[in-house]
């Protein structure tokens, strides 16, 4: 029983870490974008900023992996199915959009940001759908 309580506490702790690192990564990215446009012109500062942001991104990935390893078998299945669905959707929708643009069917040029937003959206929807499915 104590072991389970420890796992629950550890889950809370790791989720908190993930939130902190995700905020730090997004924060540095936002600061970097703002800084490059408004605060400095030095390429060296931009490179340092990019390195810090990249390092935080790596820590974020490790934090996410650590949290994933704490999930039980059902939670892992839900996340894996959501990831599989998101990967498939992102590739198919991304390529369809690109090809449609090339063929002149769509006139709005494909942007990387759209794909990232679509990935986040489809992962969120997949998680919700799969969580409800196994309730």
């Amino acid at each position: 029983m104590n072991e389970i309580k420890n796992v629950k506490q550890l889950l809370k702790k790791k989720t908190k870490y993930l939130a902190i690192w995700a905020s730090a990564w997004v924060g540095t990215l936002a600061f970097l974008s703002f800084g490059v446009n408004n605060l400095w012109e030095s390429l060296t500062l931009t490179k340092i900023g990019l390195l810090i942001n990249f390092a935080l991104g790596i820590v974020l990935i490790v934090a996410n992996k650590n949290l994933f390893n704490l999930y039980d078998e059902l939670q892992r299945k839900i996340h894996l199915e959501s990831m599989a669905l998101t990967l498939g959707l992102t590739v198919i929708v991304g390529i369809s959009y690109e090809v449609s643009f090339d063929f002149g069917v769509i006139h709005s040029e494909p942007e990387g940001e759209y794909l990232i937003m679509f990935t986040c959206f489809s992962y969120g929807v997949s998680m919700l759908f799969n969580s409800l499915r196994y309730r």
Binding site: E3, I4, D72, E73, Q75, K77, R133, Y134, R135
Partner: protein, 63 residues
């Protein structure tokens, strides 16, 4: 896969939460297993069989 988890759990007067804590998985996982929406891993199946003092073959019935 069909199983007798709910029946055996109730016989022992355990809640899903209590069983989840003993086995070491989430309550949602116990619920999904009982509703036969999700098949547990082999280690979980062994833990359940040991807890209910029965065999895996008796606990889980292949369709």
């Amino acid at each position: 896969m069909k199983n007798k988890i709910r029946e055996l759990r109730k016989q022992r007067g355990l809640t899903q939460e209590e069983l989840a804590e003993i086995i070491g998985i989430s309550r949602q996982a116990i619920n999904a297993i009982e509703k036969e929406k999700f098949d547990p891993s082999l280690p979980t199946a062994f833990k359940m069989a040991k807890l209910f003092k029965t065999s895996i073959e008796n606990l889980f019935l292949h369709d």
